[in-house]
C-alpha cells in the first residue's frame, strides 16, 4: 500500500501544489477587517475542495465570527473516526517590505514554498485533504473522517468554544489529529507529546500613600520597589527551585526513558548561546537546557515597573511597584491551583510595611499526549514508515490554549503531528514551507489512517478481553 500511495503522490504532485497555491493566493487575514471577504472566500474554497473529494457532507457552520468548514465521510459506522483540526485564516503579512516576493503570490525557491500561510496553517492543513483524497482514490480509507477548520485561530479563536458546544453532536470522534506544530528537522522526525500550561499573575506592592522624597524618608520608610525585588528574588532558591509552598506537589519527575529521549535530540549549546548572544544559561539545577525549557515548570517576571523611569535622576521613594509574573506549568499541575498557591504565598511573605494586591490574568492547563494511546502509536508508526526513523517524542515549552477547550468539549485524545520546521518563519516575513515537508506530510498522514485503524482494532480487542 505504501508504494501505491507514493505512486499516487508522484503522479499528482504538481496538482497538489497548484491547489495549495490557489488557497495561498487568498489573503485571508482574520485580524484585518478589510480582508473579511477574503477570509470567507478561503472558507468557500475549502468547502468546494472537500466536496470535490467526495465527502458525504460538507457545510459551513455558523459561529459568532467566521464560519467553521465542516465535512465528514462515514466509511463504516463501526470504524474509528479521525477528526482533523486546522485553520484557514492567516497572520497579517506586515512588515510587507521585508518580503522578497508577494506574500499572496506563492513562489517556490530552493525547494520551499514562500507565502503567508504556506506553513501556518494552510500548507499543513491542505496536506490532510490530499491524504484523504489519496486514500479514497486508492479505495483504502478504512476510518471515518471529519474536518473541523476554523477561521479565527490567528485572532484568539474567540468563537471556538461556543461553536464546539453548539455543534458537539456532529463532532464526536475517537481522535483529533492536528498539524500545526513543527518537528526537529527533516531528518529528525518528532512528535510533540506535551505542552506547558500557564498561570499569569500581576502584583502591586504599595508602601507610603504617595511618592516621597528619598532624602527625607529614605532609610526610615520601606521602599516598595526594593521590597518587591526581595519578594521576587525569594520566589526561587539558590538552585533555581521555585519556593512557593506546594508548587511542585503535582509535578512528576521525568523518567529515565523520557530523559533518554531528550538526549536523542540534536542540540548544540554553543549555537544556542550564539543565537541569543549569551555567555551562559541559568536555570533549575540538575536539568538540561531542553528539559528546563519544556519539561520543568518556570517562574518568569514578564514585566516590572515602579518609580521614576525617565531620563536622568529623580530622588523619589516610590509609593508603588508592580510586576507581571507568569509560571509555565507541566503536566498534572493545575493552573487555578497554582494561581491560588502563588497568591497565598505572595501575600503571606509581604512585610507589614507594605500592602500587596495580587490578581490573576488568563491561565491554561498543561497538555500531555498519552504515548501509549492508539492515536499516538499510529502517528509514531506512520512517521517511522515514511521517514525511516522512529520519531522523537518532544515536549514543547509553549502553550496552545485551545487544546484545553478541545479536551473539555470533545473529550477525545489529541495527536499533534506537525511537519513544519522552527525556521519556517511563521508569523514573520518570508514564511515558507518545504515542498519536501508538504509531500512527506501527505504521505505520512495517508499512512496514519491505516495504522490508526489497526491500533484501534488491537485496542478494542484488549479492552474487550479486559471486560
Amino acid at each position: 500500500m505504501h508504494q501505491e500511495i507514493l505512486q499516487y503522490l508522484e503522479t499528482n504532485k504538481d496538482r497538489f501544489l497548484k491547489e495549495l497555491f490557489e488557497l495561498l493566493r487568498i489573503p485571508s487575514v482574520s485580524a484585518d477587517s478589510r480582508h473579511q471577504q477574503d477570509v470567507l472566500a478561503a472558507a468557500e474554497f475549502l468547502k468546494k475542495r472537500l466536496e470535490d473529494l467526495g465527502m458525504d457532507q460538507v457545510e459551513l457552520l455558523e459561529t459568532d465570527g467566521f464560519p467553521v468548514v465542516f465535512a465528514e465521510k462515514i466509511t463504516d459506522p463501526a470504524a474509528p473516526t479521525v477528526m482533523i483540526y486546522g485553520h484557514y485564516d492567516v497572520q497579517p503579512p506586515d512588515p510587507l517590505d521585508e518580503w522578497i516576493t508577494d506574500p499572496f503570490e506563492p513562489q517556490v525557491r530552493d525547494g520551499k514554498i514562500y507565502a503567508r500561510g504556506a506553513c501556518d496553517d494552510k500548507g499543513q492543513l491542505y496536506m490532510h485533504l490530499k491524504a484523504v483524497e489519496t486514500l479514497m482514490q486508492l479505495n483504502q480509507l478504512k476510518c471515518n473522517v471529519k474536518f473541523f477548520i476554523e477561521g479565527e485561530e490567528e485572532v484568539g479563536s474567540h468563537s471556538l468554544e461556543a461553536a464546539l458546544e453548539k455543534y458537539a453532536g456532529k463532532l464526536q470522534c475517537d481522535v483529533m489529529l492536528i498539524s500545526d506544530t513543527s518537528m526537529l528537522a527533516n531528518d529528525t522526525p518528532s512528535l510533540c507529546v506535551s505542552l506547558r500550561g500557564l498561570t499569569y499573575m500581576e502584583v502591586e506592592v504599595t508602601g507610603p500613600n504617595r511618592d516621597l522624597h528619598s532624602g527625607v524618608y529614605g532609610g526610615a520608610v520601606d521602599n516598595p520597589v526594593n521590597t518587591l525585588c526581595e519578594m521576587i528574588a525569594s520566589l526561587k532558591d539558590e538552585n533555581g527551585h521555585i519556593t512557593i509552598k506546594g508548587f511542585y506537589d503535582d509535578v512528576r519527575d521525568l523518567s529515565e526513558e523520557e530523559r533518554e529521549e531528550y538526549r536523542r535530540i540534536p542540540f548544540s549549546e554553543a549555537n544556542y548561546h550564539q543565537h541569543l548572544d549569551i555567555k551562559a544559561t541559568r536555570g533549575e539545577k540538575g536539568y538540561s537546557i531542553l528539559e528546563r525549557a519544556s519539561a520543568r515548570p518556570t517562574l518568569d517576571v514578564n514585566g516590572i515597573w515602579g518609580g521614576y523611569t525617565g531620563e536622568g535622576s529623580k530622588t523619589v521613594l516610590p509609593s508603588r511597584a508592580h510586576a507581571k509574573i507568569s509560571m509555565r506549568l507541566v503536566p498534572y499541575q493545575d493552573h487555578n491551583t497554582i494561581a491560588r498557591l502563588f497568591e497565598e504565598h505572595f501575600t503571606r511573605m509581604a512585610p507589614p510595611s507594605v500592602k500587596v494586591k495580587v490578581i490573576a490574568h488568563h491561565g491554561g492547563n498543561p497538555y500531555l499526549t498519552d504515548t501509549g494511546s492508539p492515536g499516538y502509536k499510529a502517528a509514531s508508526q506512520a512517521m517511522e514508515q515514511s521517514f525511516g526513523k522512529r520519531p522523537i517524542a518532544t515536549r514543547e515549552g509553549g502553550s496552545i490554549p485551545i487544546l484545553a477547550t478541545f479536551e473539555r468539549t470533545i473529550a477525545a485524545p489529541i495527536v499533534l503531528m506537525g511537519f513544519g520546521l522552527d525556521t519556517d518563519a511563521i508569523h514573520s516575513p518570508n514564511e515558507h514551507y518545504g515542498v519536501f515537508n508538504y509531500m512527506k506530510g501527505i504521505e505520512t498522514i495517508a499512512l496514519y489512517y491505516n495504522h490508526y485503524y489497526n491500533q484501534m482494532q488491537e485496542h478494542n480487542k484488549v479492552t474487550a478481553n479486559q471486560a
Copy 2:
C-alpha cells in the same frame, strides 16, 4: 542689648512686614521665561534696599544667568566677616487654583504671611537685611557683613559655580550663614548640623539579545528582570544593612550624646504611620526612625522597569531590565568612592548569564557642621537667647548640593540657621511663613553677630595660645 533690639523690632515691625510684602509682590519665577523681567526686578529691589541700609558697596554681579546681588559692609578690617547667602527667585505658583489668595498678593491670616516665597526664601532672606539694619541703627554691628543673593536657586543654581569662582576675591569670609531650612517647631528651636550626600546610579541588566517567548525559552534562559531583582535584593542583608563591600568604611557611629539629641526631638510614630498610611516602617536594624532618616546611609531603588508593562498579559522573557538606584550618604563618606564601590560590587555579583552596565548620575558629598566651631556655637547661643531654649542639633536626610560648591570655592564653614517649619508648604500652593518666625528670626540673627564676634575673639585667643 537684647532689650534694645527687641524695642527696635517692636517699633519697626509694621515697616519690616510692609517691605517684605513689596518683595513678595514681585513674581520672580526663575523657571518661567515670561517672568524674566520680574526676576530682575527682585534683584533691583534688593539692591535698593541694601543701599538704603548703608552698606559700603552694593552691586549686581553678572553671571551666565540672573545676576547675584552682592553687598558688603566693612566695619573693621580686623573683625570677622559673616557672609549671608539667600535667593530672590521663587518656585512657580502652579497649581494656581489651589491658592486661597493670590500668590503674589501677600495676606496675613492667623498670624501667617501667605505668598509664594513667603518662607522660601524671600521671608528668610529679608530677615537678614532687617537684622543688619537693626544693628547698624543701634550702632552695634561688630562684624563685617557680606550678602550674596542669587536668582537661580529654584532652577538648579546653574551659574553659581562659575560666579563663585569668578568673584572669589570679593567673597572671602569667616562664616557663611544661611536661612533656607526649617526648625522642629516654634517652641522647639533647632539647628541643622548635617545633611546627607548622594550617589545616584543607573543599572542595565541584559540577558538574551531580544525579547523571547517565555514558553519556548522560559526556564532555560536567564531572565534579566528576575536577575536584577535578585541583585537588588542582595544589596541589603536581613537586618537592612547594605552589603556593598567597603560601604560603611567611612561611616562613624552616632555617639551617645548624638543619640540623646535624637531622643529629645518630639516625634510620634503613630502620627508618622498615619500621615503616610502605613502600618509599619522598615529599615536598618538597631536605629530609630529619625536616626535612619538622617544619620544612616541608605540604598533606595528610585525607579525600575523592564519587559511588558501595558494592560493585560504578554508572555515575554525580556531582553533587558533597568533600575535607578541611589544611596544617601552620611558624613565622611565620599560620593565618588561610593559610586566606584557600587559599580565594582554590582558588576562582580552579576551571574555569567547576563551583561551588566552601570552608570553614575550626579552625586554630592554629605555635609556636617562642626558643632565646636565659633559659627555654630554663636548660632546655638543666639537661638537659646531668643527662644529661651537650647536648640536641638538635627540632622536632615536630604541633600543641598550647593553646600559642596560653597565649601570647595569659599572654604568657609557654613551655618544653617533656618526659621521655617516643615508645614510651611514651600513649593506648594498656599506657601506661608509665620509673622512670629519672621520677627523671631530677625531678633535671633541680630543677636548672632554679637555672639559670633565673641566666639571668634575666644577662638583667636585659643589659637594664638596654641601657636
